[in-house]
């Protein structure tokens, strides 16, 4: 225990330097997003429920990265919640497989208004390389109305943030 503590103190921080506030792209986008959320509900808080409708999980890795110490999306007012009933935004990834079609519909049905659906990744936006397969329905908009799309296979966390920003800006106008 003590030797471990001593070692922690001796080693110090060896991870790469955290980005300076207001300098990098992430910070700028994040601050813009924070302002946009404030104007959207006057609530400065955006709860996201993510639905994996049969994705390759690449999108999920990137979304998880939003919460890590580097991106730290919590400080912009984003949070991921456990139930669609708690959510403001549904993010959907994957080319809606036939098995997940019902799940997606019910999740959308249970999200209280005002709500927004964002398709994340090429699979969700167009069906991607799976489009036309007998096992998938295709793009998310074939199942539920989609408000915005974030392209990329997978989109990086920064792209996701920018996509969220664009979607909120669009919803306000």
């Amino acid at each position: 225990m003590l030797s471990l503590l001593a070692r922690i103190i001796k080693t110090g921080t060896v991870t790469e330097q955290a980005p300076q506030v207001g300098s990098t792209d992430i910070e700028v986008t994040g601050e813009n997003l924070k302002r946009a959320i404030t104007r959207l509900y006057g609530g400065r808080s955006l709860r996201i429920r993510h639905v994996d409708a049969g994705s390759s999980n690449a999108e999920e890795y990137e979304m998880t990265a939003l919460g890590n110490a580097y991106h730290d999306s919590e400080r912009f007012g984003l949070s991921f919640v456990a139930s669609p009933r708690h959510a403001d935004i549904l993010t959907v990834s994957g080319p809606v497989t036939r098995n997940m079609e019902h799940a997606l519909r019910t999740a959308y049905d249970m999200t209280p208004e005002p709500r927004m659906v964002i398709a994340v990744g090429d699979g969700a936006c167009t069906g991607g390389i799976w489009a036309g397969s007998y096992a998938v329905v295709g793009a998310v908009e074939k199942v539920i109305p989609v408000d915005a799309k974030i392209f990329g296979d997978p989109p990086s966390p920064l792209q996701i943030l920018k996509g969220l920003l664009a979607a909120i800006e669009k919803a306000r106008t």
């Binding site: 139930s83 669609p84 009933r85 799940a103 997606l104 019910t106 249970m110």
Partner: protein, 655 residues
Amino acid sequence: MDPLLISRLFLFALATPAFAALLGLLLRRVSWSNTLTQVLFALSGLVGLGAVALLALEMFAGSLSSLQIGGLGVLQPLGVPFLGIIYAGVLLTSFYSIAALAKYKEIYVLPWLNVASALFLIGMQAVVLAPSVLTFLLAWELMSIAAYFLVIADRTEDSLRAGFLYFVMTHLGFLALAAGLLILSGGNPLLSWAELAQGAATLGALPLSLAFALLFAGFGSKAGLVPLHQWLPYAHPQAPSGSSALLSGVMLKVAVFGFLQSLTFFPSLLFPWMLVVLLLGLVSAFFGALHAAVENDAKRLLAWSSIENMGLIFAGIALYFLTSGTAALAPLAPLFALFVMLHILNHFLFKSGLFMAAGVIQSATHTRDLDSLGGLARRWPLFSGVVLALSLAAAALPPLGTFFGEWALVQALALGLGAGDPASRFTALLVLSSVALVGGLAIFAFVKFFSLVFLGRARTEAAEHAGALSWILATPVAICALLSLGVGLVAFPLISGIPVGKLFGAEVVVAPGAGIDPTLVALILAAPALALWLITRVLRTKIRITDTWDCGAPLTPRMQYTSTGFAAPIRFFFRTLLGARREIITTPVVASNPWVTKKHLDWQIHSIWEVWLYKPLGHGIVRVAHSVRRLQSGVVQFYLLLVLLTLILTLFIAL
């Protein structure tokens, strides 16, 4: 008021049930005979209640200390509240039985069932009124036998088995009572209570102890105290629900009355025996609460809870006598007395109400298995509110009456941590822990009871298509709930307002630290109201009805938690005390392939008392009987030898 008039009212209340039952028997071909009988029962209850109220007023005014009821009996002040409970119980349950029994005409032979009920009612009243040993024992036996016929009323195999167990246990209890009272009376069954008490004062320590043990065993077996409780959870639920309410809500109180009355014969010697009563009371309360928490049968759950509450009441009585005898602890005794009184009343109210509610549910869904109920709150919103109030009362939560009774108990125990010698302080600590654990388990049991019956979706077709609710059935239940709530609303100012010192003959600080600010109450009530106003009027929140969140796999009612599943954690935490037995029976589907199998889980909870006490005892008795049988050789000379030996032995003893 003229004492003669009051005693005539009591006589009327005592005689009417017999008259009603006879009338019902004579008119058994008439369709309204049951209604007539029950209305007359209710009338006798009403008149009795009036008489009790009049007598209580006289006694409070101090103009009357006891009442001679004709030539039949004497009513002492102790009996008055118990008679009140009997009459209130009769009034509520007979009103309920008008409609409840009409639904079961094919199952019960109503005229004869009503005869049993009438004898039961008369027996209970006679126990309270009995002036002498013999009348008391006769009344007790009448009550017990009549109760036996109530238990086996539907003549199913389960009922007969439960009835047999009850019959055996209650007669063992009767023997103990008779033996204990005869020891005290010096063998003379015709002594009145006053003469008995005089005689008992001259007895030595050993006969007194023996008598106390026998009487405690007798009354304890009726009240369902561990280890003589095993019959209660089987027998009480088998009776028709109105009678179950009387058995659990009222008859158990009569046992408490008998115990309290017999305590007056033991001026000395009480101290060590009260420790035994305290211990057995707490053990009963714990096992009752634990089994109630894991029980799946609605009515049996209520019966287990009766054992719990009886345990608490006996523990309270023991604590009263333990503290009142010591100078340092005497100020606490009134609080324990207050608890016992309030709890007797509260337990009567919520248990009668819940048993009748269970009857309503059973008559509408034809099951009392918690695993196959559910979703009734949407069908019967008002009735579910009534049962919720009763369940909260049974769980001893504020603001229901039971909470304030138990409040007096825990408060007195906490005060006990700081008074008396070290031994009594640590005893108070242990008792407080047990009471808290029992309270926690009781909350668990009744939250389970309410939510499995009323919340969520119906788990079976039967619950799905539950019929309409008859208001005649629901009204007595609602009255119980309202009274329970009323006790809660009245009890608190009463506890702080009444000079308890005057009531119980000792000075005491009642509920110290209980001051509640009116602004506080206003704030607590205002905040949710404000929130409601905000949501409905200001925000105008729209509500959209959807399915339950299912993660994509459609839910069926069978996927909800069952009672078995709900209690799984408690069963696991207390597994060593429950004696659960589970067995997975695997049968292969295809004979040639051992891998494809059908699995069947056989799972049961035994009482550990049954496993460790009853079964070995039963086996022991059988073994002894086997060895005694060798005497029955069939040779006449041998029998003559035995007779001779007995004669010689008798001569030795006599000389």
